[in-house]
């Protein structure tokens, strides 16, 4: 089954993180709250479509596509509180 990456999320879509590929940036993401089982929500994209803004643990962060490619999601779900 094709894995869903965080960068696949469209504005308004959320997901639960299933795995983060180890990279130089993965520890930083962990500090922000992107860990296995946490929920992320895509809030929007600026005019050039990159970086995308995500809601992580209640705060909004802009992350570049190359960073989000390393984060995999279990499924895409519409947002619920």
């Amino acid at each position: 089954m094709q894995k869903i990456q965080m960068c696949d999320l469209k504005p308004g879509q959320g997901g639960v993180v299933s795995e983060i590929r180890k990279s130089s940036i993965s520890r930083r993401l962990q500090d922000l709250g992107v860990v296995q089982g946490s929920r992320v929500l895509c809030l929007g994209k600026p005019i050039w479509k990159d970086p995308t803004v995500y809601l992580i643990c209640g705060a909004a962060f802009a992350l570049r596509k190359e960073v989000c490619r390393e984060v995999f999601l279990k499924e895409i779900v519409p947002w619920s509180a």
Binding site: S24, R28, G33, C57, G58, A59, A60, R64, A81
Partner: protein, 599 residues
């Protein structure tokens, strides 16, 4: 009275500084700690029971000690100095703040958690059970709204009630474990907002994601410049009139003094001083607060968000947009502010190109030049604003070009992971901002006027009055610079003024004018008509105007900035590049324009 040292830790953007400022008021100072290079702010606050020294640690997302801030925060917490730790958390995103709180709790036995921004959380419909939180964390938890000083009393009470336990060696817990626990605690103690965050992001999506939003931002910039010019001109007129009233009295005082004393003081020092205060100060004093209000409201991260992609194409990162914004206030501050960029290569890029952004010292000169260019009439203000906007856009374009140049030559490398927090918009504290920034800026400029402008004015007067036969030293030197000046579309006097303006850019225009008036004096007051008259009668054309404006944008950084570059890079090579890069760019462009105007 018992004295305790308290470390203030917390994520960036949680209002830690607000808590610090509210508690310590003016009793604070920045200083170095334990020989580290990053300055740490410390202050004192007293209660009836104890006297506390608060140390404001840099904002960090974690104590994993990967960046310089994290290393400083971690090592301070682990040192003997910190007897008490207060972790400031953001009520509207408690889960993330808890990561750091849990790390602190595992490292230090005396922790108080302070949940700030309770009003923001309430506005979003978030409910936090502080009691439950305290139970689950095992430490005292208080809530507050740092903007309202009175709400900090529970924090002070909790600090008073804390009996410091002795330190024991501690290891920090694993990130995954902490993340799990933070999530569990939040599920138990926090009722989340029912509001849809995507709906809340709509304004930002409009501003940053649509063409219309982009145009609106541009319009906002033009408006801001228009307001600045409008108010600054009024203020200039008032100050000029005030000085005009004073002049006769001063001249009366010096009537019986020897000519050289009268000349040196009145025509040299006093004229330049009044010029800088009446003409250069008002734009600075007005633009800076306006800009700070925007910054307060939270617009800057949005600018960085939109500019990240273009910066990436030039080998840099969006955070450079933030340092550019800081550079608008003062290039030296912009250079120091480059510390927010994690990658060393990208930080150097930002440091070396910061001088291409016109600082508040150059802004009045650009404003005066555009005003003269558009022959100020009643609608002249709008064209001035447009002209200034074009110049600002040019400086941004030059920043991109210079970054691209550097990253293709001496600073090659890949761009690294980019993480930028987009905090919610906050209502700017108009009162504090206006008072603080107007006062700070005004006092700073006045002090610099006394320290730099006055001696420079004296020097010019001396040069103009040291005569060997018919020519003065001033004429001699400016003629020497003339060939190079003319090749760049300007002239010797202008170039000399730029050189003498090394200590502070705001004296360049007064020096140009003084250089032209062969007796080395300035017109009575700084009216634009007089400026225009002087410039035109000394051969200024459209070419001179354009080239001088461009050279103002791109020439060597002022001495304070150059020193800051040296301090931040600790390298002669990079400081030299930092000085030469904008100069070469400016000279190249001016030469090109000079050739174009010949056609």
């Amino acid at each position: 009275m018992e004295r305790l040292t308290v470390a203030l830790a917390g994520n960036p953007n949680v209002g830690k500084s607000s808590v610090f400022n509210a508690l310590t008021g003016l009793r604070q100072h920045t200083g170095n700690w334990a020989g580290k290079t990053v300055a740490v702010a410390a202050g004192t606050v007293e209660t009836s029971a104890r006297s506390y020294t608060l140390v404001d640690l840099p904002g960090t997302y974690s104590l994993a000690a990967r960046s310089e801030e994290e290393v400083i925060a971690r090592s301070y917490l682990e040192s003997e100095d910190a007897q008490l730790v207060v972790v400031v958390c953001d009520a509207s995103c408690l889960q993330r703040s808890l990561h750091l709180a849990l790390q602190c709790i595992s490292l230090h036995p005396n922790v108080i958690v302070c949940v700030n921004l309770m009003d923001e959380a309430a506005r979003l419909g978030i409910q936090i059970d502080l009691e439950k939180l305290s139970q689950l964390l095992g430490v005292p938890v208080v809530g507050c709204m740092a903007r309202k000083k009175a709400t900090l009393q529970p924090l002070l009470d909790a600090m008073d009630q804390m009996q410091p336990k002795p330190r024991t060696p501690a290891i920090m817990r694993e990130a995954e474990e902490i993340a799990d626990e933070a999530a569990r605690i939040c599920r138990a103690a926090v009722v989340p907002s029912a509001r849809n965050p995507v709906r809340r992001y709509r304004t930002d999506q409009f501003l940053t994601g649509t063409g219309a939003g982009f145009l609106l931002s541009m319009l906002m910039m033009v408006c801001m410049l228009w307001v600045t010019i409008f108010l600054a001109n009024r203020l200039s007129d008032v100050l000029s009139a005030a000085f005009a009233l004073l002049n006769p009295y001063l001249e009366a005082c010096f009537r019986s003094a020897p000519w050289w004393l009268r000349g040196a003081v009145l025509d040299g020092v006093w004229r330049v001083l009044t010029w800088v205060i009446a003409v250069m100060l008002p734009p600075m004093a007005i633009f800076f607060p306006l800009f700070t209000i925007l910054e307060n409201a939270g617009f800057l991260p949005r600018i960085a968000l939109v500019l990240d992609r273009p910066f990436q194409r030039c080998g840099a990162c969006g955070k450079q947009a933030l340092t550019c914004c800081m550079g608008i206030g003062c290039n030296a501050a912009g250079v120091v502010g480059c510390r927010i960029i994690d990658s060393k290569r990208e930080r150097l890029l930002a440091i070396l190109t910061n001088a291409l952004i016109p600082c508040s010292g150059r802004f009045p000169m650009l404003a005066a030049l555009t005003a003269v260019f558009f022959s100020a009439s009643s609608s002249g203000n709008l064209f001035e604003a447009l002209g200034l906007s074009v110049l600002f856009l040019l400086s941004i374009a030059l920043t991109f070009a210079a970054s691209k140049l550097l990253s293709s030559t001496v600073l090659k490398g890949d761009s690294q992971g980019f993480v930028l927090e987009i905090p919610p918009y906050r209502m700017p504290q108009f009162g504090t901002v206006l008072v603080r920034s107007i006062l700070d800026r005004t006092i700073f400029v006045l002090a610099r006027a006394a320290a730099v402008a006055a001696p420079a004015g004296l020097l010019i007067w001396l040069l103009a009055n040291l005569k060997a036969g018919d020519t003065s030293a001033l004429t001699f030197v400016s003629h020497a610079f003339d060939p190079v000046g003319r090749a760049l579309g300007m002239d010797g006097v202008i170039l000399l003024a730029f050189l003498l303006g090394l200590p502070a850019n705001e004296i360049v225009l007064p020096l140009i004018l003084m250089g032209y008036l062969t007796v080395g004096t300035l017109p009575e007051n700084g009216s634009l008509d007089q400026i225009r008259a002087v410039l035109l009668s000394h051969g200024w054309s459209a070419e001179t105007m354009v080239c001088t404006a461009v050279f103002t944008l791109a020439h060597w950084p002022c001495s304070t900035t150059a020193i800051s570059i040296w301090k931040e890079t600790k390298s002669v090579k990079w400081t030299a590049i930092g000085i030469f890069l904008p100069t070469v760019i400016g000279a190249f462009l001016c030469f090109l324009l000079h050739l174009l105007f010949q056609i």
